[in-house]
Symmetry: C2
Subunit: 479 residues, 2 copies
């Protein structure tokens, strides 16, 4: 299959250069293109359709927990951004500033939202009066802007798409419960839909969100052994409420401050899908998130009956609930095979005159390349079986990969050597001091990814300073 080779050769192998492989997949699978706006991306139909599926699934899960969608302005007046001290320090250095509206300079400059805590707080301060108004469980789908110096499609760009949930509660306990609930919702979504295992845990103070009391995170391991923070959930306590004056009258008519949370997931997840499941033929999409699950490729499509049969199979599979297309372009079958592979379509169905005569077709599974000859009566059953199995096995394979690349270190030499020679997570004990995190970052460029919910005691002393250990931490180099 000459065409096939030619097409595939166009991408760098991941063993040779993982970063280049990633860029090649992003481009050749037509997920993204670079734009004339530096650091911003054009999300093309194949990429945006993945995001739409992510949105649909997350939005349904949010709403099932009582969350409602709203829309806040995209601008934040400078004075509003400055209300909460830690928050402004964290974000001011990386925002885009609007200084002119129409032909005139603004009286006060505004930034394009890097995140919307300040806008939600400003709104809640006016909108919440009584305990009857609580909880407020709001979310918005929008884009945000952070003026990054170095950018990469999906992983780090000056503008990206996300959802940001912002809730307000009567009590500290309720806020903490919501923070954890949303983190678990994210983790379940990653595992059940994206087939991507994650470590659930808490960020250290050094790594937490600007203005948060505590930040929870899910951390996934990419194929190259680097970690990717895939979703975060923050508990603000009443810090923002005090800064913005968000109070409600409780049942005894006493004024109380609300307790708040926020949580977000972004188009970064598409980068995670690529780096967890992709291979040297391109993208591999978990069936549950794949915009097209089955691509039917007619062989000798000009022969009588081939296209008709292809469309008939498409209708049959569509009616059975699958997302299915026929590639009836005038490219060669080999080219179409490689394209379907590059785009990560879970199942391809090949059907030509001889197959039709024999009342069968060839079914190929994307990740394993397993080919099966299937009788046309059995096609629907077989496709369902492959999609289910593939979804399950992608998760298992990713979990195996993560397990195989999760190490532990009992002393600092071992720790440094592991980080230098074995890409992956390193589990090690930590004293709780930021000084050790700084030391470790300087020595290894690794950061604390999280203090996992499932704590173990693998040693009694901090791996860095040797003082009494407080927590087990997952360390790693990260995107």
């Amino acid at each position: 299959m000459a065409n096939d080779k030619k097409f595939v050769e166009a991408i760098t192998s991941m063993e040779e250069d993982f970063a280049q492989w990633y860029t090649d997949v992003v481009k050749k699978a037509e997920l993204v293109d670079y734009s004339s706006v530096k650091g911003c991306m054009v999300i093309k139909p194949a990429g945006y359709a993945i995001w739409e599926n992510i949105q649909k699934e997350l939005d349904t899960r949010f709403k099932a927990t009582g969350v409602e969608n709203v829309y806040m302005p995209m601008f934040i007046p400078e004075s509003l951004l400055q209300v909460e001290k830690d928050h402004v320090e964290g974000f001011a250095p990386e925002v885009a500033w609007v200084t002119h509206g129409g032909l005139e300079p603004l009286q006060e400059r505004m930034c394009v939202r890097p995140t919307s805590e300040t806008l939600f707080c400003d709104f809640y301060a006016k909108d919440i009066h009584s305990h009857r108004d609580l909880p407020r469980l709001y979310n918005q789908w929008c884009s945000v802007v952070r003026w990054e110096k170095t950018t990469r499609p999906f992983l780090r760009s000056r503008e990206f798409l996300w959802q940001e949930g912002h809730t307000a509660h009567a009590t500290a306990q309720e806020a903490e419960e919501r923070t954890i609930q949303m983190l678990n919702l994210y983790a379940d979504f990653c595992e059940e839909v994206l087939a991507m295992p994650v470590v659930r845990g808490k960020k250290t103070d050094k790594e937490k969100f600007a203005g948060a009391e505590s930040t929870y995170t899910i951390e996934a391991l990419m194929h190259d052994g680097k970690a990717l923070q895939s979703g975060t959930s923050h508990n603000f306590g009443d810090g923002f409420a005090k800064a913005f004056g968000i109070q409600y009258a409780d049942k005894e008519n006493k004024l109380q401050y609300v307790h708040q949370t926020s949580w977000g997931m972004t188009t970064r997840l598409i980068g995670a899908i690529i780096m967890v499941h992709g291979d040297n033929s391109g993208l591999v999409l978990p069936p549950k998130i794949a915009p097209t699950q089955v691509m039917i490729i007619p062989i000798q499509q000009k022969k009588e009956g081939v296209l008709e049969k292809s469309y008939a199979l498409k209708d049959e599979l569509f009616n059975a609930g699958f997302r299915v297309k026929v590639d009836d372009t005038d490219k060669s079958p080999g080219w179409k095979f490689s394209e379907a592979e590059m785009r990560g379509i879970p199942v391809r169905v090949e059907i030509g005159p001889k197959d039709i005569e024999a009342n069968q077709c060839v079914v190929v599974r994307r990740d394993t390349r397993e080919k099966t000859v299937v009788s046309l009566e059995q096609l629907e059953t077989k496709v369902r079986e492959i999609l289910d199995t593939m979804q399950k096995e992608l998760l298992e394979r990713a979990r195996d990969h993560r397990e195989a690349h999760t190490y532990q270190a009992l002393n600092y030499d071992e720790f440094k050597e592991t980080l230098e020679t074995k890409p992956g997570f390193v589990k090690a004990m930590w004293c709780g001091e930021e000084a050790c995190e700084n030391q470790i970052k300087e020595d290894t460029s690794a950061t604390s990814r999280c203090m996992p919910f499932s704590q173990e005691t693998i040693a009694s002393k901090c791996v860095c300073c040797g003082k009494d250990a407080k927590k087990l931490v997952y360390w790693g180099k990260a995107y």
Copy 2:
């Protein structure tokens, strides 16, 4: 019902002050709140849920015609905005300028997109090479910014949500067909889903979009007799293609310019729904777009069995496919009735101990206030019947209202008098000269809304200058 009155008295009657009535409805139905960002709005859950339904329905209709969704950057470098002359003249005076990224001034300032023709063109110029790449049928859902001086929620705000479709075609004919196809899609959507009749037509050159060869529009008539432009579809011919160098190799391998269209609908539609269907008790939502179609209101809800029965009815109606809620808050029934009315919920179901005993409930239709006692076995059938009838009758009533407020004028005195004394559309003949449009605007503040597709010849001379008439035009004062 004392509570009921109190709640309703809080809104101004539309006969007394239509503008204030509109503002009151927007606030009391909790669709929108003002924000600390001047001219920008906070879209609250009740408002955003309407937008989500609009999105869902339009998006499905777009995709059925082959349209795919993408996402372009929100920024436009100044040099890119300036490529097409008419376009930059139309938009430059009303854009917001970003001049600083992080702590540093930008080398070139960028505006926040007021519309994305220039970004799509820049992308198409790199992305389209061959006739095989055509047509390109892209759409994006996003927010845009136009630095308006005076703003009103939904109708005119500095930031608003919309969709913008941008297509590229091989031939002028195909582009024209797509322009008309999308206009008709918009019109059908307004009539079938929003129960809002529209006049379909073409804008005069004076009123067309900056950079377009021709602009088509749908114009709706609000309750106060003012027109609202509700959706537009533009044919750019090859003007943008020549300015941006968007060429493809045709089947003979000759380079040709593409022909382009764009088309958009915005959150303005929510304003239209309010002003077409609303009444002095608040919002009236057409059943097909209502986030909640049925509100069940328990009477004496503390009595045994009342809440249980309410939830059981909710489940039953939910399973029958309706969007239904129970108002189980601790407010009085009268208050709940007014709230459900204010929010425009098409059907309310009242159920109390006596009803339960008699195996019945009271069903009230929002627009007519018609009350029916319905046996519980018949509830599902009755609700379906009411929703269907209401959807149909809202459209009929709005059409009747429009017909009753569409006048014609055969000479200029009649024209001016009609515009002064009878709010509505005025049909009159026009010579085709911009001078007459300017004169009419100066004399009456009315503008040409469109040259309707259904042309008639009601006179032979232009209503303004008396020269030979070329077109019948709908004139009116507009939002």
